[in-house]
């Protein structure tokens, strides 16, 4: 079964540093997402991306965050200047065309620890 692949699985970074989290969505999917889950809390939506632009973003997704699909296969989340509170598990997801019938497939996540 096709998978969404995320790298790295773990990332430790110092506060104020930039990080890039990488995802390879399923190849024929058109919609791409980032979610995060702070330890012990809900999974929260960050951003959706379609047709090479952001289609929706949450309040969490401020100017410190950006997304990019640089080469037609990778989908990246960049955090410009990390804060302690950015420590979380970040999940990438993708889905095909039809919202009513197509499930979202999630990657196994990148655990980001900001120290």
């Amino acid at each position: 079964e096709p998978e969404v692949t995320q790298t790295p699985s773990h990332q430790v970074t110092q506060m104020g540093q930039e990080v890039i989290l990488r995802c390879v969505p399923i190849s024929n999917h058109l919609y791409f997402y980032w979610y995060r889950q702070i330890l012990g809390q809900k999974v929260e939506f960050l951003v959706s991306f379609y047709n090479n632009e952001i289609s929706e973003k949450s309040e969490i997704f401020d100017d410190q965050f950006s997304v990019e699909r640089p080469d037609g296969s990778n989908f990246t989340l960049k955090i410009r200047s990390t804060k302690l509170e950015d420590s979380a598990m970040y999940f990438c997801a993708s889905r095909g065309e039809q919202r009513s019938t197509m499930r979202n497939t999630f990657g196994s996540g990148t655990r980001l620890t900001v120290v």
């Binding site: 939506f45 379609y50 929706e56 979202n104 996540g109």
Partner: protein, 110 residues
Amino acid sequence: SQQGEEDPQALSIQEGENATMNCSYKTSINNLQWYRQNSGRGLVHLILIRSNEREKHSGRLRVTLDTSKKSSSLLITASRAADTASYFCATSPGSEKLVFGKGTKLTVNP
């Protein structure tokens, strides 16, 4: 309750018993999905039920959806120790995002 709110928050049962988890939501939806998450791991999609469906089965899983009550239930029959995980419902309230509940932490004791 918030969109995609599960109950109970925690459930502990013996192997072989059935486990039922409930989810309530507030707005109209296109579909409702259930996910499983093993501790510290990724989200595994279990089942999707569309807004015009009332019940769906997949192996030992049975999901019901009552749009008039804005609620869904996930039943796991003949549970196994390997079913120990957190279970989340997620709704798509007319936009691109999925809204997750806080989840039910299921423990199946051998």
